[in-house]
């Protein structure tokens, strides 16, 4: 991948460049307290722009997979049914997606586009999305107690699946092009060739940043094995289920969760619209079948299923990507503290149960 250097002061010029190319440029901005949001960059808010700030809680997957999306309308007219799809093809540039979230969108790409059925709604949004990854380098702002991209191997600097990557080197920023579209920006004069010193600085900063991440999820890969091999005790899933309040939050905030439901709503006497809405396997009704059978009625069965989908080899091989990116949002959103980090810890602790020692 090609890399260039630009002055820190010029960072918003990159956003302007994208806007000139017809993109609506969206970046994270501070709200109240720790709350941060993706907002369109405007004349008014650009002076509030921060390269480093807490990662927006509402995950950026919603720009390709909205929380609620109108899919089509059906109208009854003169005995005919007129079906009109509703596509969203606005060009958007997300100016400031964390490496974990980049991996999340890649996982969604694999799920929605990577197999036999290509989701056309997802495709149209994704094709028009330009991703600018910002590397987490500020331990005070970018990284929090819940982050574990190191364990999921998705950060702090994404290695791929972005159009452009910006890394703060201090007075300067290193820009890395991940795609042809990203590289095309380098024609602009603000991008200068870098030197070996810049490469070394990047390596040093990343080395230092890696030290700021949680270490307890170093058991992460072992958990992947345990889950894949069905080695987690039923008792452990029950303990996890006892703390779960079935809110669905872990699924909704997860950058790599894909589930949805579809609803037809009457919008007029002869008209309906179909909407797609985020759904969660955490919820009891998710697997209820017509006739009443529910293979995952018990909450601990649903927790079991979730972590299997997140971690098992089968899915990693199928999607060529793991369904957990280490962003830590599930830990923040969970009422009973059974997000990924805690579950990894509980699985680890439970393995001592299977230790058998003979005293004599």
């Amino acid at each position: 991948m090609k890399a260039r250097i630009l002055d820190r002061a010029d960072v918003l010029k990159v956003a302007d460049l994208l806007r000139e190319q017809g993109y609506e440029v969206i970046a994270p901005f501070r709200g109240r307290g720790r709350d941060t949001f993706f907002e369109t960059i405007t004349e008014e808010n650009r002076k509030r722009f921060d390269l480093h700030l807490p990662n927006p809680y509402y995950p950026p997957k919603r720009f390709v997979f909205p929380h609620m999306e109108r899919l089509l309308t059906v109208q009854k007219k003169n005995g005919d049914l007129l079906i009109e799809p509703i596509y969203k093809e606005t060009k958007r540039a997300l100016f400031g997606v964390r490496s974990c979230d980049v991996a999340g969108i890649y996982h969604l790409d694999r799920f929605y586009l990577g197999r036999d059925f290509r989701d056309i709604y997802y495709e149209k949004r994704r094709r028009n999305l330009f991703i600018v990854n910002v590397v987490c380098t500020d331990p005070g702002e970018d990284i929090n107690n819940e982050c574990f991209c190191m364990c999921a191997d998705t950060g702090p600097a994404a290695r791929d699946h972005f159009d452009l990557q910006l890394m703060d080197l201090g007075d300067e920023i290193m820009a890395v092009a991940g795609t042809a579209a990203g590289e095309a920006l380098f024609d602009h004069a603000m991008f200068k060739k870098g030197t070996h010193a810049h490469q070394e600085k990047r390596a040093a900063i990343l080395n230092d940043v890696r030290r700021h991440f949680k270490t307890t999820t170093s058991w992460f890969s072992a958990t992947v094995r345990y889950v894949s091999q069905g080695g987690v005790l039923e008792k452990t899933w029950e303990e996890i289920g006892n703390r779960c309040l079935e809110c669905g939050g872990c699924t909704y905030v997860c950058p790599a969760c894909t589930c949805f439901t579809v609803s037809d709503r009457q919008t007029g006497p002869d008209e309906i619209e179909r909407v797609r809405i985020w759904d969660a396997c955490a919820l009891a009704g998710f697997t209820r079948m017509a006739g009443g059978h529910n293979p995952r009625r018990a909450v601990h069965d649903r927790r079991n299923r979730r972590f299997f989908r997140k971690l098992a080899h089968y899915f990693i091989q199928r999607e060529l990507s793991m369904a957990c990116v280490g962003c830590g949002r599930c830990a923040a959103v969970c009422h009973g503290d059974v997000g990924m980090p805690s579950v990894v810890e509980m699985v680890r602790r439970a393995t001592t149960e299977s230790d058998t020692h003979e005293a004599n």
């Binding site: 809680y57 509402y58 919603r62 609620m68 006892n242 939050g249 909704y252 969970c334």
Partner: protein, 675 residues
Amino acid sequence: MAHKLTTCTFCGVGCGLYLETSGNRVVGVSPSMSHPANEGRICVRGWHVHEIIDAPDRLKRPLLRKNGRLQEVTWDEAFGFIVTRLKEIRDQHGSDSIAFLNSPRCSNEESYLLQKLARAVIKTNNVDHGAGVYSNYSLNVLLRMLGVPATTNSIRELGQSDVIIVDGVDLGRQLPTIGGAVIRARLKGAKLIVVDTRRHRVAENADIFLQHRPGTDTLLYGTMAKVIIDHGLMDLPFIKTHCQSYDAFLANVSSYDLLATAEICGVPAEQIEAAALAYGQAKSAAILYSTGIEAGDAESIEAMVNLCLLCGQLGREGAGIFSLTEHNNLQGVCDMGMLPDRLPGYGSVSSDAARGKIESLWNTGLPAERGMTAKWTLSHRGNGLVRAVWLCRYDPVSTAFIGEAAQSLQQCDLVVMQHLFLTPTAEYAHVVLPTTVFGEERVTFTSTERRIQLAEQVIEPPEGIEPAWLQLTRVAQAMGADWKYDSSAEVMNEISSVVPIYSGANYDNLARDYGRQWPCTREHPMGTQFLFAPGHPPQTFTFVPIEKSPQPVITNEEYPLTLVFGHSLYYWHQNVLIRHSETLKREYRMLLLDYPDGFVEISTDDAKRFNIRDGEKIRLRTTRGTSTTAARVTREVLSGTVYVPYFVSQVMQQLQGVPEKGVQLLPVRVEREAA
């Protein structure tokens, strides 16, 4: 694409969340990480509130019943009809022939103006909120014993409690954010004691689970008090300084016997003792109970507050009484005076002083006689006295505990309904005024931790639709009142001049912070995180000696189980809002799909004992009647009990007649219908 911080309007937690809009549509929702009550977490209802706001079957035009059918009319015609009929009925049958009922989910502004319309314009005290049967126990007990009718502390303080008692409420279902706070407190080392007949999610996490027989909790708490006294763990300095009637309480408590109680309650004596000692030795202990239909009778609440006073667990972080409101504004509607015997701010309607103060603020005389409760209005039509009922966002046909709402409304000469959708109640309405949904108006709600918060406007309502508070203003003006409110903020300004605990609140300061917890006054302009902090004006609290608790249900060989009726556990299943989200509809109504003809719940043990399978038809028999329904077998229910969800009222009627109280216990026999 925009987002705005607002307050969730489902349950009493009042979580902070952001509504995401695109154009004039609400397209998403996400939790606020910095909000002090929920700190980044919301429940499944909150996660789907955007679907409800966006529901296309909203009522768009006012409806008037003509020739037996509801037909669209103009706003002028609707208001004209209402005013004419109200005047006619008042002139012909008197002011007290009209009743005003609202939902405990109504905003402060519309609740305040509804009772003002009733009292200042129509001149009746027939005002109440839909949950009036149950929560008013708590309100009255707390006013009597503590002097303040609300939760004494804040939700996030549960992280500081070292002992937490959760009584009779399934937090995981009703107030999940608080359920989470309790679970996490326990993970941090707090001792969790759950007192309940049902083994719910939070109970699975309890250190001590006192799964007692129905109706025996008062006995349990009294006995715990005795254990605490026997071990000398009471806080005598606190009692001496602040409490009255201790001696009477002491005399009463001394008659409890731990072993006898254990026998009656069906709970091991060591567990009761352990719970008592834990509470008695705690540095900061919290007692949580619900004011929903789950609420026990007044005695059990008195017993809990007695315990709290006995150990001086008040006036510091993590120590206190959490009287949890299951509906988002149950606290607020009571603060606003939607009560037949209390004015805004809780002064009694029969007190000349309390009434006089508001009479001078409103510049009009007010009625002094206690009004009718919601229950009385909707089950007996005030013994035939009520001719007209105004329902603000209230759907009693679906949600009223009382089984006769439909019948009563049918007999009324005028039923005015303000709502969002055509609810089952609309069938009995003469006029329907569609109004604004969450997100279409800027109004306030007061959460269970006394937090007065703004719910913001993020989209424009459909054309012609106005907030309920504005519709009430128009009606009052048309009836000759000189009301003038150009905005909901102005209504709040008046509220703050009438209700002392709200006197320091206004939309500016509420918007600047995460609302303000009352008392929010000149002395406490930033609000009050917890009540009764030392150094503040000395408080006097009152013990209440409890007469011997009623004997629990006597079961015998012929009627071996106890029937328990009336649990708000499944309230949200009937709520009209839930039906407007595909996901919530599925989650909540799944039970109704699985058991389409209704159900009662029995334990897995009893199912084995009586050879009953899940879903099977069973026959229930009491000394007074029989009923046939489906059985739902669940390990949540205590062996020896049969649970009847409150909305399965026909079962109760068949077995006993119209239920009189919040908790009704009967000895019952259960058989397979096929047998």
